[in-house]
């Protein structure tokens, strides 16, 4: 039972970065800009927020007000991600550049920049930024001392502020996308920008908004990934940015579907990491490197789903196509 609960809480903490980043990708693509730079955006968000946490730690501010410090770190991650994503927005929207190539450039830049900066700040060869332990939310923070161990594992073993923030963002995303004027306009720009423009919507502005939102969510997702892994920031986010793309496609560019598929993909990741202690998995005999098998499954499942859904795919129609006012 405790193992089962442990898996649930681990799945949640790993689903958070996937969901946040996939939602970010959704906003960008719904506005018509393909964002394969999510991996790079995550790295920049994680880089800046981890240094922020470290600074709070050494200044003594962090241990004193842990959750306030963590909240500020989340904001730093969001802002850093937004600034970095401006590079993609500028290339894709103003210069009408190839969005995939632009994204590849950002993905190449981010890990290299992260290592160079980490070395410069921490000293040569010290590539890992340690994250402080006070960022975790503890049961004692709420005055809860003698909790049922199962409840304690479920809610407080891996609880970080990023989880409630992610839930709020999910709900807000849904409302923004489907219940506001902004969301309707954003979606119009991803489906038929010419039509949107003809009724007075500023397509460039909406696309900037889409990319910037994806930058903010990608940045927060980067921090969420680092707290989920727990071993510090090492200039990479383990391919979660690319996995988030798969989550977004699997979730059919819709917020709650994305949340569901993030949980499923996270479960695969957790099984891959803990398969040796999970009893109810199929017996694979003496197969070695079983974790690779479980790591591979979400990608394969995504491809199979793409085969069956491609005919009625909900992918935004105009994604990846630069908008040119003069074009008909």
């Amino acid at each position: 039972m405790s193992l089962f609960v442990n898996i649930i809480s681990l799945t949640v903490v790993f689903a958070v970065p996937l969901m946040l980043v996939a939602l970010g990708g959704m906003f960008s693509e719904r506005s018509g800009v393909v964002n394969i730079a999510l991996e790079g955006i995550m790295i920049i968000g994680a880089l800046c927020s981890c240094f922020t946490l470290k600074a709070f730690h050494t200044s003594g501010f962090g241990p004193k007000f842990p959750q306030l410090a963590m909240f500020l770190a989340v904001l730093v991650a969001a802002v850093a991600g937004m600034i970095f994503s401006l590079l993609l927005a500028f290339a894709a929207i103003n210069l009408k550049a190839d969005q995939t190539i632009g994204g590849t450039a950002l993905n190449t830049f981010a890990p290299a920049f992260a290592i160079v900066l980490t070395w410069a700040i921490q000293g040569q060869g010290i590539s890992t930024i340690q994250i402080p332990s006070w960022i975790r939310i503890r049961a004692s923070d709420f005055g809860l001392t003698n909790l049922n161990p199962i409840i304690k594992t479920l809610f407080f073993k891996y609880s970080y502020m990023t989880t409630p923030i992610a839930i709020v963002i999910l709900i807000v995303s849904y409302i923004v996308l489907y219940k506001t004027r902004f969301g309707l306009r954003l979606r119009a720009c991803g489906e038929h920008p010419q039509a949107a423009d003809s009724v007075g919507i500023n397509v460039y502005k909406m696309r900037y908004a889409g990319v910037l939102i994806s930058g903010a969510l990608g940045g927060i997702g980067g921090l969420a990934y680092i707290v989920a892994v727990g071993s510090g920031f090492n200039s990479n986010v383990g391919g979660y940015g690319f996995l988030a793309l798969a989550v977004m496609i699997f979730g059919n560019w819709k917020p709650f579907y994305i949340a569901g598929s993030a949980v499923m993909f996270a479960l695969f990741k957790v099984i891959a990491a803990y398969h040796s202690v999970i009893p109810f998995l199929p017996d694979l005999g003496s197969l070695k490197e079983k974790s690779s098998l479980y790591q591979m499954l979400p990608y394969i499942v995504t491809m199979i789903v793409l085969i069956f859904t491609s005919k009625k795919s909900r992918a935004p129609k105009a994604e990846g196509i630069p908008y040119d006012k003069g074009q008909r």
């Binding site: 393909v34 290339a91 290299a112 290592i115 793309l245 490197e289 690779s292 591979m296």
Partner: protein, 369 residues
Amino acid sequence: MKKRKPLAENAALISLLASIMSILIGLLIGFIVLLIVNPGAAVEGMAAMLGTGFSSPDKFGKVLYQAAPLLLCGLSVGFAFQTGLFNIGASGQYTIGAFFALYGAIVFQLPWWACLLLAMVGGAFWGIFPGLFKAFFNVNEVITSIMFNWIAMYLVNLLIANTPMILASAWGATNSDRTAALAAANPGAILPQGYILARLFGGSTWINISIVIAILAAIVIWFVLVKTTFGYELKAVGNSKEAARYAGINANRCVIQSMVIAGALAGLAGGLYYLAGTVQYVLEKSVLAMGFNGIPVALLANSNPLGTIFSALFVSYIQVGGSSMQPNFSSESVDIIISVIIYLAAFALLMRHIIVKLLAKKKERRAKA
């Protein structure tokens, strides 16, 4: 009388200038970043990056050794570009190619040339998936390629770990997380040094015939694209799928063929790199960077197969230089420069387009007057 083309209409010259510009801007921005993070060592670091490649025959041998797979990955990406496809999956095709080559070398005990053929088969096999998905299910090849990169990496981990005979531990070493050293398992699978190259680079352990094979491949690909009907069809599909279809070209077949050839090229790259005998395939945790580095190589060359030879040499040159920037800077610093080059290339096409448009307008005006 044959009229000489005005300079500004010479597409090759414009491309070359654009590439040199983006290299210079890349170097400048890289230098500025180094200057900001570590002012004291920046000049020394840049000097190491730009000077190391030519510093000794051994280092230059290493430049050529790394340039060979880069060149093939660049060809792979560039070839797909010509058909309007973005092959971000060169990494996965490269990984599968490397596995096929090593499997042939260690398990089947084949000679090197047979292993290289196997590598091409492996890469082509992996390249066909994005092609099929694009042609039959209209799934964007970028998405398929990204997914198949990760599938390739995990699959190869799985296959190597479960093939006892391919592991180093079966051939007198203790590690079971990597493939056997070819010197122990099958010296006949190691690429020959080549008589002339061995004389030229007497002391270098890096040099072998891989660079010659890669350059030959570039020439073959150039020939196919420029001189054959098949190449013309592929380019027609790249320019406009609908127009090509209207002209009676089977666009779907072209997409698949293009991806298969691109995959074979990337697979060959994997074979060349791992059959040199200097490296062993270690179980990986993230997608191999070599395939991604084919992207800047192709972009710098504007997808021209012959230009790819030079852009691969350049990228390899600064990468070899980058590894001697330590301890002041990590070798990844080079990637900052490469990323700037890619970023600029993203709208280089647009810049060329603008130049062409301006020229056309000028002509129109002249015609009116």
